[in-house]
């Protein structure tokens, strides 16, 4: 056969080209700059509030990305994602709380508990309801979310009910720990916890990115495109849906552990409530379903808006002390949040990242067509 010639095929050439630009891709630089900002942030801006928002953005970016894996990449609408998040948060809080004194090993134990419980629960939920119609899965997940919420609210001996659980972290993560200064910033438990969460979030996010770029991720993509075809290729699509559901749920529970570590306090409303679930859903939609990186934008959008929109009121009172109408308007900050959301959906129908990717792809196509024009 003539196919044994040394001439590389276009596929091989493209692969070689991708390998060559591996370290010079613009996306990589955006990621590194973002990472650098998160590392330098607390040292440059020594404001607790800014650090608080950044931490929540990191944690919720992971939660939203893991939800995107289930919603955007697998095409399943689950309302129990917050449940897995809450299971992680409660694992952390209760392990420390019920042992009395915080110890080092509590963190890995809490993580193992979170992974174990949420893994088993996700498998059970999937096997019980994923085989049937999608709407049935959604309803079952809602029932599970409500059930676990009530459990957190009522099982007083274990969870302290609606009062919630306060706990302290061990060693250098403790709020009492402090050890001099570094680059002008005070080294304290908060800062250490911040960097721990940063490292953990980055690892979890990379795990999610690797998952969608793996053979499994490609099968999930094909299932969304044409499930019957995937089955005819020999893929057991049900197994793939279960796998991605479990993976996403486990990641969410680990993010829950981080969230509890940051707050040092959990209660049912803050980590198990349906409003939190809706926030996660909004983050994915704002960022763009099926993009993963959109989750960072979505989480930032919502966390920043929630943290600073209430300040609108103070700002108005300060700028226009005598204009009552303006102050009344500023009081309704939650309304502006709604308007912002509607604007995003109108102008970025595929989410911020999804729409941006479309625009870039269209431009590339136009450029490629223009380049080919003279040859025709």
């Amino acid at each position: 056969m003539e196919s044994k010639t040394m001439q590389p095929t276009p596929v091989q050439m493209e692969r070689e080209n991708l390998r060559r630009v591996r370290f010079t891709r613009p996306a990589l630089w955006v990621q590194l700059v973002l990472l650098a900002c998160l590392i330098a942030g607390p040292l440059v801006v020594p404001s607790f509030r800014a650090m608080d928002v950044m931490t929540k953005v990191m944690i919720f970016a992971v939660v939203a990305a893991s939800y995107d894996l289930i919603l955007g990449y697998t095409g399943i609408l689950s309302l129990a994602h917050v449940t897995f998040f809450g299971i992680g948060a409660y694992s952390m809080a209760l392990v420390v709380f019920h042992s009395g004194q915080a110890a080092w090993y509590h963190i890995p134990v809490a993580m193992a508990l979170a992974v174990g419980i949420s893994g088993v629960l996700a498998v059970a939920l999937a096997f019980f309801s994923l085989r049937v119609k999608a709407i049935f899965f959604t309803m079952m997940s809602l029932a599970l979310a409500e059930f676990v919420f009530i459990l957190g609210d009522q099982w007083h001996d274990l969870t302290m009910g609606e009062d919630g659980v306060s706990f302290s972290l061990p060693g250098i993560f403790s709020v009492n720990w402090s050890d001099g200064t570094f680059l002008g910033a005070t080294l304290n438990g908060r800062l250490m916890t911040y960097y721990f969460i940063l490292a953990a979030s980055v690892l979890l996010f990379i795990g999610l990115v690797r998952f969608v770029r793996s053979p499994v991720g490609r099968v999930l993509k094909s299932v969304r495109d044409n499930e019957q075809r995937s089955t005819a290729l020999g893929y057991k699509t049900f197994h793939y849906k279960v796998l991605s559901n479990v993976f996403g749920s486990v990641v969410a529970s680990l993010a829950g552990v981080l969230f509890a570590m940051w707050l040092g306090y959990v209660n049912p409303t803050s980590v198990l409530g349906i409003p939190v679930m809706l926030n996660i859903l909004l983050m994915v939609i704002i960022g763009g379903m099926g993009t993963l990186y959109g989750s960072i934008m979505g989480a930032a959008f919502i966390q920043v808006a929630e943290a600073w929109l209430p300040d609108l009121q103070k700002l108005t009172a300060w700028l226009l002390p005598h204009v009552e109408v303006a102050q009344r308007l500023a009081e309704r900050w939650i309304l502006y949040f709604g308007i912002l959301f509607i604007l995003v959906v109108i102008f970025f129908p595929k989410g911020l990242v999804g729409t941006a990717r479309d625009v870039i792809a269209r431009r590339k196509l136009r450029l490629a067509q223009r380049d080919h024009q003279p040859g025709l």
């Binding site: 276009p10 596929v11 692969r15 690797r210 495109d225 044409n226 089955t231 005819a232 020999g234």
Partner: protein, 256 residues
Amino acid sequence: MASQAPVVQTKDLTIRFGGNVAVNAVNLTVESFTLKAIIGPNGAGKTTLFNLLSGQYKPTSGSIMFKGREVTDLGAADRTRLGVGRSFQLTNIFPSLSVLENVRLALQSKARVGMVFWRNYRSYSELEDRAYELLRQVLMEKRWAVEAKTLTHGEQRKLEIAILLALDPELLLLDEPTAGMSLEEVPAILELIQQIKAARNRTIMLVEHKFDMIMTVSDSIAVLKEGRLICDDSPEAVACNSEVLEAYLGGGVKNG
């Protein structure tokens, strides 16, 4: 024993949809490395028979043997793994994936690395290279990078055959591979089928309406009418069978 067993053997294969018996007590045998055409008027149950063989439908009664092994209760995915490859009457590809990815996914399934979630899918470069090679075989290599939905109808059918070949099946079920194709595109498909048959390592079952095409490529022809197998013989014998002619013309008249 097993090597002598026919590739496909059905026994009293029946499927009922409500009161309608779509396939009725069909006993069909297909020998290794032959090409059997299935013909019959519209609604005779040809596609339903394919759906039963590929596992899309479960039969109401009767059994299916594949290479001497009972597969009646296996689903479509399991039968694909055993070596049953099926093309669909309505083109069935992944429309928003690239042409190369369509074939690569089939190879990935065959290579059994689909459950790997820690490695980048592009690190399996041999799958990509093999996919490109298969596209070359069906004369589609120039279109490897485009989305499959932008292909012409004929190209999509060729892509489908490339996907099928990627699965390396022993049994190819081709459901009207030339349906809806423009006349210029038909010879390429016909040649492709001849090529596959000439390699003598696969068994082909073919549903087709183009009678002259069937007469040239088939080793044997089975005729279905109203779900029943009324004749299964060499092309020459089938062409002279009065019942077949009656069924075919009758069906033709009925369907205008």
